[in-house]
Symmetry: C2
Subunit: 182 residues, 2 copies
């Protein structure tokens, strides 16, 4: 476990404050189970994100994602699982600003810069800027990564079933496992 219990709880509290700014209400149980995903790197302010999973059935998943200012969710894709197409997800910015990078024509001067010591694990640079009300759909098996803007971001994710353990990251140091401390 890369984060201490105290750190985990501190970031949960920070996440609650972001959601509150976005006008998003959680139940007490959801609030207690906010997931702080540091991807086993121990560099949460640089690389990671916070998540609230509302539902994750066989067919549908909905989450809120919270990014700190300049925090990066590192490059990954959702491959096919058990003969089904991989996860399809739409990101809708609710508050703040998020810079999303996908496969395609690279930006000449990208706004986001990933953590410098991990720079070579970022290979897709087609840039999409999402502000409140903006959204973008990422179809299965597409490399993507994203970063919070100067004030951070709150992003709704609407998707097919989420099986985080099947995600493929470019950075071999990353492990995506739900870390449940509570």
């Amino acid at each position: 476990m890369a984060l201490t219990r105290e750190e985990y709880q501190k970031w949960q509290q920070t996440t609650r404050e972001y959601l509150d700014r976005a006008g998003i209400v959680l139940t007490a149980e959801e609030s207690a189970h906010i997931e702080i995903a540091d991807l086993d790197l121990g560099e949460f302010e640089d690389t990671g994100l916070a998540l609230v999973t509302y539902i994750n059935t066989e067919r549908v998943c909905a989450k809120e994602l919270v990014l700190l200012p300049g925090q990066t969710c590192p490059q990954h894709r959702h491959p096919p699982v058990n003969g089904e197409p991989g996860k399809e997800e739409t990101f809708r910015c609710r508050w703040g600003e998020v810079y999303l990078y996908v496969e395609g024509e690279p930006a000449t001067n990208p706004i986001a810069q990933p953590p410098s010591h991990r720079r070579d694990t970022y290979t897709v640079w087609h840039e999409i800027v999402l502000r409140p009300g903006d959204q973008y759909t990422i179809y299965p098996d597409t490399w993507h990564w994203f970063q919070g803007g100067p004030e951070g971001a709150v992003v709704s994710e609407f998707s097919t079933r989420s099986t985080d353990e099947n995600d493929l990251f470019t950075d071999a140091e990353i492990r995506r496992m739900p870390e449940v401390i509570n």
Copy 2:
């Protein structure tokens, strides 16, 4: 067309005000295309709802629903379509209060009362009260209806693909067709 252009636009504006109270931001295009569904009854304040559809792909759909105080979305179900299971949907209350009725043990004293002249088309009375942060998942082909509380309601819907034209309503007078006036 049951609503005049002026009425349609008036209810679009009312919908914008509800979404604003819930802290939900739309793009200009989404705002211009808010759907006012009166289900061809011409009794919108009693029966109907307003919708913003964010996405509706082959696999995933996400919407915001807005209900006026005491307004009822009438009893319906989502049957299988082309050999696929029907629509699965999760309602998450974001603002206000909504009373949801599904198949199951009927409430002894239900909070909601449907429009009295259509009362006999409401046959499921298992009651779920949703306040901000509360949610409920309706699996395919389950009869359900819902009504806005005293202040109305804003509800996020996370679902599989939406094909409104396949919905089955108990009330034979109802036609569910997207009415696009803009």
